[in-house]
Amino acid sequence: MRPKLNLLDAKLVDRILEEAFELLERIGARVGSADAIELVGAAGARIEGDIVRLPRSVVRHALQSAPHEFSLYSRSGQASVHYGGDDVHFDPGSSCLNILDSESQNPRPAMSEDLVRMIQVAEMLPEYAAQSTAMVCSDVPNEIGDWYRLLLVLWYSDKPVITGAFSLGTLQTMISLLVADSGGMAALESRPRAVFDVCPSPPLNWSEFAAQNMVELARVGIPAEIVSMPLAGATAPVTLAGSLVQHAAECLAGITIHQLAKPGSPVVWGGAPAIFDMSTGNTPMGSIETAMLNLGCAQIGKALGLPTHGYLVASDARQIDAQAGMESASSALLGALAGINMISGAGMLDFLACHSIEKLVIDAENIGRARRLLKGVNGSGETLALGTFAQTAWKGDFLKLKETRTLFRQEQHFPSQVIDRTSDPNTPDILARTRDRVHELMQAYERPKIPSAVENALLKIASEIERSIAFEHLPGIETCLTPH
């Protein structure tokens, strides 16, 4: 039996949803996009300026057309991420500005080369089912910062991508890159490689960019992932239950806009909810309440039959230390037990302000443990122990038994050398062990074989836009290009 954790009882799930519907009906959401307002208005919403009050029949109708599951595909066409049911996947945290320098272990602005290294390491770790556009590179102009991340991921990875646009103009560029990568719009729609995070602004505010983003994504059929971020006590009710209501209302409003733009387009019930720390004013991503909010949000999404996402495995520690290990390990386990389809956040430190390749590698160990837990205890053998004892009785030589050799790999999870089990006082510390592992992974990495027509199409899109802003470099890629 696979272990499962439900944080909320059925009655509380109903109450949360009931209040969320009521909130949208009575208070309403603010929607900034004229396109979106027109869509919900035509469907029966009451519009007052930018306030949209959504009757529950309209929301219910949208929920009916939202798909219960969909897959993301690798470049080779494998459905390697399945959004739906209790399937669990992990990806690195997104859009970080700083990197913890691998040598000095001090934070500094992230560069293209850092993102390339992180993509390469994540590519080699099976614990990460998807890549993310993990960092905003400081050596690339702001205007192109969002799509340039995606270009680097497509250039160095075969895996599906969790991404997101910073503006409507660049959203189109990112879609063009994905179309070029898939070899056409139809191919991209039938086998989407990426999901786009879209963030409403708490409380209950779908800005022009966010709402229009949902409309555009729905129309082209690229999956959208709602990342609602109630901050309990600051931009959302202080109670966890109250914040869950707000999260649900924001997601319901987003899904309504999305499904009205194109019924049946894939959409994820996701979020990055957190509490507000009342002594520092920070947003602790590693707090237990933040994990509880994520679990609660996902449970509500599941009650509606929707694919789910959460933001866990991140820590607020500024270094790779015991706090980082503790916070990330516990939230990885909790997220996995809750059956959240996509769990973002691995590798991140310092309230999502800093990424670390070394932490990403340590978090892969956390994920490996969580995956083992999800496999549960296998009781399917004809006997559990009687058959074994019939072979060895009191001798105790279990290590020599054929069944031991046949079954130990299924029973035990094998961590990498990052986890010390040597009992050797001379074993290097965890940072040194992790650096060794990073080195090994980088050595084993090989860039995927991408058809040159695809490469050329990607570069053409990039260089045309770059020329328009008089930026003529391809940081992180130039070294791969052979001069013609």
């Binding site: 020599k400 031991t404 050799r405 050797d424 006082p425």
Partner: protein
């Protein structure tokens, strides 16, 4: 008929005693020198197992199965070796045993199998071995190394008794003592006056080699 050394090697890596026996018998039947079958076939398999174990691609149950396969092949080839008057060059003579009161043998047996594979002449005294038994065998065989295993914190003290007994018998100047077992540490080895400690069987081979090289350098061993 060409000897299939790679199949011999593979039978050890995959831990298949029946296949290893069959291949050893086949080698004998085809007139392949036993020494060639050992050195160019089976031993290379055991060496690969050691490497894969160190890289965490193989684990203890795999290594035990490989050790069984190695034993199976050697039980066919060793009598043949004697019949042919051939001898493997001896990398050193090692006595192994688990201390008095302790019946754990897996770790020690693995060490023995790996040492044998690497050209050492190993006398395995088994489990629950008294100090006198260690001393007698070491004298009888002119051993270079005595390896004492213990799996319990209580029987670990027995390692100290063995070191002392070998000392009383006047063997310590030319004889190296190595210790191992779950509770054993490098510090404990130093404390009881042993010459070395290894955390697992693969490291025990490197340790034994290293100790004997030092002995050779000091002129203790005739080679």
């Amino acid at each position: 008929m060409e000897p299939d050394f790679s199949a011999m090697r593979a039978s050890i890596v995959s831990g298949a005693p029946e296949t290893a026996t069959a291949l050893a018998k086949q080698a004998v039947a085809f007139g392949i020198p036993a020494l060639d079958a050992i050195n160019q076939g089976f031993v290379l398999g055991m060496a690969e197992v050691g490497e894969q174990f160190a890289r965490r691609q193989m684990f203890l149950p795999d290594m035990l199965a490989s050790a069984e396969a190695m034993k199976a092949a050697m039980s066919v080839l060793e009598p043949e070796l004697m019949r042919q008057g051939a001898e493997r060059p001896n990398a050193g003579t090692v006595i192994l045993g688990t201390t008095k009161g302790d019946i754990h043998e897996i770790g020690k047996t693995l060490v023995g199998t790996l040492l044998t594979a690497h050209g050492f002449k190993v006398f395995d005294l088994g489990v629950d071995v008294t100090c006198d038994q260690f001393v007698e065998k070491a004298q009888e065989t002119h051993a270079d190394v005595v390896g004492v295993s213990a799996l319990l914190t209580t029987t670990m003290r027995g390692q100290k008794s063995v070191v002392e007994a070998l000392g009383r018998a006047g063997l310590r100047p030319t004889l190296k003592v190595i210790v191992g077992g779950a509770p054993v540490t490098r510090q404990w080895a130093q404390e009881i006056g042993a010459d070395g400690y290894a955390k697992d069987a693969v490291n025990a081979v490197a340790l034994t080699r290293g100790l004997l090289e030092k002995k050779v350098a000091a002129g203790d061993v005739a080679v």
